[in-house]
């Protein structure tokens, strides 16, 4: 069975006020987020769950769309603190409200920028500048700031001011064209697929810039185009067009290098397994496991080239077999004999998945308005300093802690700012 790495056992969740049980990778790093939706806030989430102090700046009068417009809501009833999307993307943060339309609000914003090591911005280019918090302005008060600007198209270029959502930008970046049956309509991926690519690259860029700053003292303005991050994932298609003038197209679930390769129906309604046979040994093993060793000798199926030439018949044959069994049974039977197989997981399957449970990916934590919520740990587990999750903030929940303890404002001053609508 092997030795379990220490990280898996130590991965735990904690109450927001509890001290971490172990040293954390990013303790002491200070992040201020002027960001909304997912592309910016998820970068802060990953850093917060590894120990950074993350201040999420919000507006009560113009709250994050994910607090307002997007289901799911607790009990299907909307509310600023009742949305699953906000919770999922904002664990391990301090939440404050700030009115950047008020000049004193800008001044407080600048104090936060001066406090921070990292500033995360994912507004349309120009918004932060208009609020007096653009890179140049912040650099004057904090010369070594690492300033991540993440937006659709980047800070420059004829389309830089074009607004757009990740769910659609995913189509501009080539993914939608490559999903679907051959000669069929393109298929949507789910939601803002590309935003989460931008998150990963944003996190990488910030971590690299922090290292660079540590060695050189120099800050950085990171100009990240979500579109350009997405293109990293389709590079072979771009090179194929470049080199050979061929436009890669959608091929359903098929692969030029493997057969059988696809989704096959299992017992139950809309229940599927996947099988990916990548060698002749696997093919023979599958035929034996199915109780049909003769399939392997059938001239239509004896080699990869033959199977590709008769792939419709092959898929019908395999589907006729899998149809008799449950998804998990197909997976277990085939994996046991060294054949690649899996289930097409529904959401409910993910929460029952024993491997995800082993890795403690879902961590259900109490929340004042959601009652409890499954936060999601990252896909990488560090052996000594794994992520430690704490719940997402209520709107303005940490105003006192941030303005009072961290920025040192007196109680009376904070109350005055609240009255004047600076702290909303």
């Amino acid at each position: 069975m092997g030795v379990f790495p220490a990280g898996v056992g130590h991965r735990m969740s904690r109450e927001p006020s509890a001290l971490p049980a172990h040293p954390q990778a990013l303790s002491g790093i200070k992040i201020v987020e002027f960001a909304v939706f997912a592309a910016g806030p998820m970068v802060g989430k990953h850093m917060g769950e590894h120990g950074a102090t993350v201040v999420r700046v919000e507006s009560r009068s113009h709250p994050d769309g994910f607090r307002v417009h997007y289901p799911p809501y607790k009990d299907n009833i909307p509310g600023l603190n009742r949305t699953g999307s906000f919770a999922l993307f904002n664990n391990n943060k301090l939440g404050i409200t700030l009115n950047l339309k008020h000049p004193e609000g800008v001044a407080l914003g600048r104090r936060l920028a001066a406090w921070a090591d990292v500033l995360i911005d994912n507004f349309v280019p120009g918004v932060m500048e208009r609020n007096g918090l653009g890179y140049e302005a912040v650099r004057e008060i904090n010369p070594s700031i690492v300033y991540l600007s993440s937006c659709n198209m980047g800070q420059t270029g004829p389309k830089s001011s074009q607004r757009g959502f990740g769910s659609q930008l995913t189509s501009q970046s080539g993914f939608t064209y490559l999903a679907g049956e051959p000669h069929g309509e393109p298929m949507l991926l789910f939601g803002p697929y590309i935003d989460f690519i931008a998150v990963g690259f944003g996190l990488i860029a910030v971590m690299a810039a922090l290292d660079h700053r540590r060695r050189t003292g120099s800050g950085q303005h990171i100009d990240l185009s979500q579109y350009e991050t997405g293109l990293q994932f389709v590079a072979p298609a771009l090179l194929e067009y470049e080199a050979a003038g061929r436009v890669m197209t959608r091929q359903g679930n098929r692969s030029p290098h493997a057969a059988p390769h696809g989704a096959y129906p299992c017992r139950g309604e809309d229940r599927w397994c996947v099988i990916a046979v990548c060698s002749e040994e696997e093919w023979r093993a599958l035929c034996r496991a199915a109780g049909h060793p003769e399939w392997g000798d059938d001239p239509r199926f004896a080699t990869l080239a033959a199977r590709k030439a008769h792939e419709d018949e092959l898929d019908a044959l395999i589907g006729g077999w899998t149809r008799q069994f449950g998804r998990h049974e197909v997976m277990e039977r085939l994996q046991a004999v060294g054949v690649g197989a899996g289930i097409v997981s529904l959401l409910s399957d993910l929460f029952a998945d024993p491997q995800l449970a082993h890795r403690r990916v879902w961590q259900e934590l109490p929340h004042p308005e959601l009652e409890k919520f499954h936060y999601e740990a990252p896909p990488f587990i560090l052996s000594e300093t794994p992520a430690e999750l704490s719940r997402s903030p209520l709107l303005g929940e940490h105003n006192d802690r941030v303005y009072g303890e961290m920025l040192g404002l007196a109680r009376a001053e904070i109350e005055r700012l609240i009255e004047d609508g600076v702290i909303e």
């Binding site: 389309k159 939608t176 490559l178 290292d211 436009v247 690649g340 896909p379």
Partner: protein
């Protein structure tokens, strides 16, 4: 030799790479190539270690011209910015050589099955003893331990078991993956992120760590907010084809892909203030072309609430848009959507992307010389621009064993004679 990236605006000389001082040993196969490529883009010195004869992943096309392991386009894409050496890790001598290299490495990335390197005295604990500061990143389909740790993985299996496939494809038709494999992409990216978080801790404390990356888990974030539906409502979501699900509490579907003259366009009615402006601008364009029915031209988008609209209301609303967009082209929509601030994009192919004026204006494309092919190839550029450091392609992907002399010579003091002997013994 590759052409260096362009100078930054204003003609200042190029900066040093963001991660210039660091050395990476990259033992990955196709499942992990992107991680080292990212660290290489950031300026790290990445040494790709292949079995003698080359990484088997070089065998699967597409290819530049001929089906040749030195012309593999995915190899080119994801192994640019790396030097290349060969090494037989199955041999005792090969294992010694790797230990020698690991002594001075900052990062090691690998994608062998769990236990494979341990069995050869090259696992995390063994190398941590030699180099306690080493960040050792392991990529596997499901993780280093647990009930699925020894399952065979593949792109299709990861896409299926991550939950993403269940959300892609037409209702009533099979669930679908993306035809260009994505699982290794998400994995390589997350592996780089996890490695850099561990790197920070190592810089502060001197201690390396084992970074355990699971391919299947790396795809979970492609589900965006879907898990919240189950957490809050115990609701499963189902694929909607080219319509979106999950925007309405009535369960109504909204079309997101519309046919046009030369392909498809991604356009959706959004809610909120941004949606209102976009929807109004779209209707204005349609009206200018004489294709907006009266009821549509009069519609008050400010009161339109997607979250409570019924399927019948949505279907009726969409009809004139279907007719209008059927007559437009992708390029036309791309132009007008920018001009008119309409939310939406063409469903772009590689050709559409290559022709996008935005990318040209950004200097996104980079020319990379391939003298061995007698060609200069245009590559997609890096994932971000840094104001005070360089990020980009500075060398093409290595040929098999291309840097054996350079790396083994400089690192381990091996002579030409030593290398020849090791080659004859098939250690290199």
């Amino acid at each position: 030799m590759a052409v260096a990236d362009r100078p930054v605006a204003g003609g200042r000389p190029p900066h040093a790479g963001v991660l210039a001082p660091y050395r990476v040993l990259d033992l990955t196969d196709r499942d992990g190539w992107l991680c080292g490529r990212i660290l290489g883009d950031l300026g790290a010195d990445v040494v790709k270690i292949e079995p003698p004869g080359g990484d088997p992943g070089r065998q699967q096309g597409p290819f530049f011209r001929d089906p040749d392991p030195e012309q593999n386009l995915a190899w080119f894409a994801y192994n640019a910015n790396k030097r290349g050496i060969t090494l037989a890790l199955e041999t005792v001598r090969g294992q010694e050589l790797l230990r020698g290299l690991a002594r001075r490495a900052d990062f090691l990335i690998e994608s062998f099955p769990p236990g494979h390197l341990d069995a050869r005295g090259l696992g995390y604990r063994a190398l941590h003893n030699i180099n306690p500061g080493l960040v050792f990143t392991s990529i596997t389909p499901f993780g280093q331990s647990g009930p699925y740790a020894h399952h065979r993985g593949s792109d299709l299996i990861a896409m299926a078991m991550s939950g993403l496939m269940a959300l892609v494809g037409a209702p009533g038709r099979p669930p679908l993956r993306v035809s260009l494999p994505q699982a290794a992409m998400w994995t390589g990216m997350h592996a780089a992120a996890g490695s850099l978080i561990a790197h920070h801790y190592r810089r502060v404390t001197g201690r390396g760590q084992h970074v355990d990356v699971a391919t299947r888990d790396s795809l979970l974030w492609a589900l965006a907010n879907a898990p919240a539906y189950w957490s809050l409502l115990r609701q499963d979501l189902h694929r909607g084809g080219s319509s979106i699900v999950g925007r309405s509490t009535t369960g109504a579907r909204m079309r997101a892909i519309y046919r046009c003259q030369d392909g498809h366009i991604n356009f959706i009615f959004y809610g909120g203030e941004a949606g209102r402006r976009s929807n109004e601008a779209m209707v204005r364009w349609m009206a200018e072309c004489g294709e907006a029915p009266d009821w549509l031209a009069r519609m008050d988008w400010g009161t339109f609430n997607i979250a409570v609209s019924t399927q019948e209301e949505i279907d009726r609303l969409e009809e004139p848009f279907v007719a209008f967009l059927a007559k437009r082209t992708k390029a036309e929509f791309a132009r007008e959507s920018v001009k008119r601030s309409i939310l939406g994009y063409p469903v772009a192919s590689a050709r559409d992307i290559r022709d996008d004026p935005q990318l040209a204006a950004r200097g996104f494309w980079q020319s990379v010389d391939h003298p061995e092919l007698d060609a200069t190839v245009t590559y997609p550029g890096p994932f971000a621009k840094f104001s005070a450091a360089r990020c980009g392609i500075t060398r093409r992907a290595p040929r098999i064993g291309e840097h054996n002399a350079e790396v083994y010579g400089a690192e381990l003091g091996l002579s030409r004679h030593d290398l020849d002997a090791l080659g004859r013994e098939k250690i290199l």
